[in-house]
Symmetry: C2
Subunit: 128 residues, 2 copies
Amino acid sequence: MTHGTDSTAMKATLLAYVERFNAGDAQGVAALYADDATVEDPVGAQPIAGKPAILAFYQHTTALGARLEVVAPPRGSHGDAAALTFAVHVSLEGRPARIDVTDIMTFGADGRIRSMRAHWAPDDVHFL
Amino acid sequence: MTHGTDSTAMKATLLAYVERFNAGDAQGVAALYADDATVEDPVGAQPIAGKPAILAFYQHTTALGARLEVVAPPRGSHGDAAALTFAVHVSLEGRPARIDVTDIMTFGADGRIRSMRAHWAPDDVHFL
């Protein structure tokens, strides 16, 4: 199947997301998003919207030297959503830390990400 | 904090959900839900709504002998949502199988689950 919301295609995009993020390729990550996509990170914060804001978000986060570690295979759905559970390894205030996160992404028919919602709470930030 | 959407409280409810499910306690699982809660399992299917339908759903799934294995610590959020990534071990058509799932639950101020959405696709069902 080539439909953008096919589970296999959604999962491949999630893994490309991780690969590009870990390569520091903010432009490549942003290219996975639809032009009018939204990012709510963390869930409960004001979402950002649109490619320029999303690119700036990834330029900022990749510049922190954060590295994503996938901790479970991505999950698809019978709809347009898929889930990625991972740990973010990053230095916060000069101390090594791990943030436990589950992202839910929704996809358009063209296979691009329409929305990302990052589930993590203050108590998901672990100083090591 | 005792607020129902506090991250620690949400995670404790998710772990109680797993414990009660694995004990075959469908009534106990249903008791974690608000009376007017919804369950969409899998995401993309028609949701079910209301305590009687939710109880029947868990009576059915626990009767299958399914067992839930948590594969990553639950994630909270800065809002009313939390995430649980797990594997379902179950016999399907007489064959042992594992279904990879990520549930997103939202919670009311009383700490009860208002909605559950289960992310799994046909290709998340693995015959062993």
